[in-house]
Subunit: 186 residues, 4 copies
DNA sequence: GATGAATGAGACTTCATTCAT
DNA sequence: GATGAATGAAGTCTCATTCAT
């Protein structure tokens, strides 16, 4: 509600920046670690983020927002199949290039309301796109709404298992999504 | 190479049995834990299995062997597509019902030669079945040998993300494999 | 000495009110805690009460004053024994129903002059009542002035050890005081 | 059951010895602290004593045993009042000279079975002695079995509140017990 | 004066691994 | 070979107090 004080906001930023770096490095988030790297007291980090999950979700939030935006675009597309497939592709690409997203997506329970909100919005978008595609006869009828997220996580995981280096991931992910989409199409 | 002394062999068995129980419970393997439950000293466990991975792979070995056997059966099947698809299905079912298999499959580096051997055999079988299916025109040409394992792991992971309870897993896994197989078919 | 500014006075009141609530709940006083509940900054609380003890003594003060008043009444009673015993009974009842009083009573060093003053007044009253009772031959001669407070604290503590719930305390406390008084009577 | 290995037994002793020193100093027991002073790893201390309470009770055990022994002696005394009063006196003296005993006595829940056993034995002895004294008409009829422990704790606490230095405690304790006993006598 | 973010020492606990017995 | 006690680094988290805003 109340905006953060200037110095607190600076620390908040530092923490999130450092956490993002760690996530990108593939290092598991540890609040002590974050504090040390950010040059702050542990207590400061705990004040802003009482748990690792809270920090991780905060780090993931901008990416979730970007995905939600893309979802809004997709909803404007008249071609049901194109909209659906581009949305799923985007979802996988994001997970594959951002470990925080992969974890947050695979976890049922969120700690931040904002995370829940965004995930619900993404679910709603996915459901709507799926319904349209199904109605258009473009998608197999036995695919349930609840399958979307797991399948996306699965594809991301397959990519992760396949690739040695992060750099190789994107093309692999695209091939896998395409394969999946073929499997989903009617 | 030299066969184990009788008591050592008994201990080995106990350890592996207990480890299998823990794996089935979903409890993360801890060598101390295993020792306590097996009524043995930690040192004994460490003597037999210097790392958690060694024990985990040992636990997984019989399952890998069963899969290899199934692979041999599949190689005798004249119907290339049926052979291929039943093999992949079996692979996923195994991972989904056995956490040790899921971990061992997803890990590139093995610590036991036997594990490497079995994984290579499975790879070889998969490759052969894939080649046959491709030759028979049943499978898309752009699916590489190296994609098989990652995709199986991906499907298993998707199942894991989807299902609340272990009991629900098998039907979900089958649906997902079927979807994938549709995507792989030509 | 200079009266507090009106807003400062309001904060002081809030703090003491909240602290009293915490004490009554049995929650150990923490200045941060008090600040949060009072909707004030920690700094404000620290300005008014530099230590937990200062706040605790402030919370206890009105009760000490009430006890001092009762002491004044007792001094007017002609029956030396009745005056003495009712005073001690009141002392115990107060401690038993108010944790702040129990702590302040059991502590030798005070941080607030007002606390010291009140405790001295109570001591003086107790001493006077004891002297009168002793003179009247109602009390054993070997009971020293300095024994009064410790014995009262002891009875309160015995009550605390005995009773499961705060509700049971008063009758137990009365039984114990009566027993002690019998022991003190000549 | 199985006796400790020699080195383990030595460490156990060290730990208990150090803990006894700390208790006697009045320092609150902290497992880390104990480890450092004993020149042992924290883990070692935790292996032997999973909680502070377990260590404290272990430290108190020999004293409880000595009290139980004294209780057995008291039961052989034909003079019901003398037996009763000497038992209570001894109980208080022990608490007053040993902080571990004071804490263990005042706590309802024990963590070691041995502690519970000894406390129950002491209770049984106290109850028996009380019954005899009551039957002999030496004790007021309204004193319940459950009052014995709280009253002893109360007297010990009163002594603690009264005395500045540990050295002064014993005579004070005796005076207070005597007073209490007068109050209890018929 | 008031605020509350920041601090960081320090308490607690776990666990993979070693090594004396 | 078997044992299991010992280790202690490393992680978690709390809270009394300070001080910049």
């Amino acid at each position: 509600m109340t905006p953060l004080r200037k110095d607190a906001a600076r620390n908040w930023d530092r923490i999130v920046t450092v956490a993002r770096e760690l996530v990108d490095e593939g290092t598991p988030l540890q609040l002590n670690d974050v504090a040390r790297r950010a040059g702050l007291g542990v207590g400061t980090v705990y004040r802003h983020f009482p748990t690792t999950e809270a920090l991780l979700e905060t780090v993931a939030t901008p990416c979730l927002e970007a995905l939600a935006d893309h979802g809004d675009q997709a909803l404007k597309d008249d071609d049901a199949w194109r909209a659906f497939s581009s949305f799923l592709t985007r979802l996988v690409e994001a997970q594959v290039s951002d470990p925080s997203l992969a974890k947050v997506s695979a976890t049922a329970e969120d700690v931040l309301p904002r995370t829940t909100e965004l995930k619900q919005q993404l679910m709603a978008t996915g459901t709507e796109l799926l319904t349209r595609a199904r109605t258009a006869g473009a998608v197999r009828p036995d695919l349930a709404d609840g399958d979307l997220i797991p399948l996306m996580c699965g594809v991301a995981y397959a990519t992760y298992v396949h690739s040695d280096s992060p750099a190789d991931r994107l093309p692999t992910a695209r091939r896998y999504v395409d394969t999946l989409l073929r499997g989903l199409s009617a």
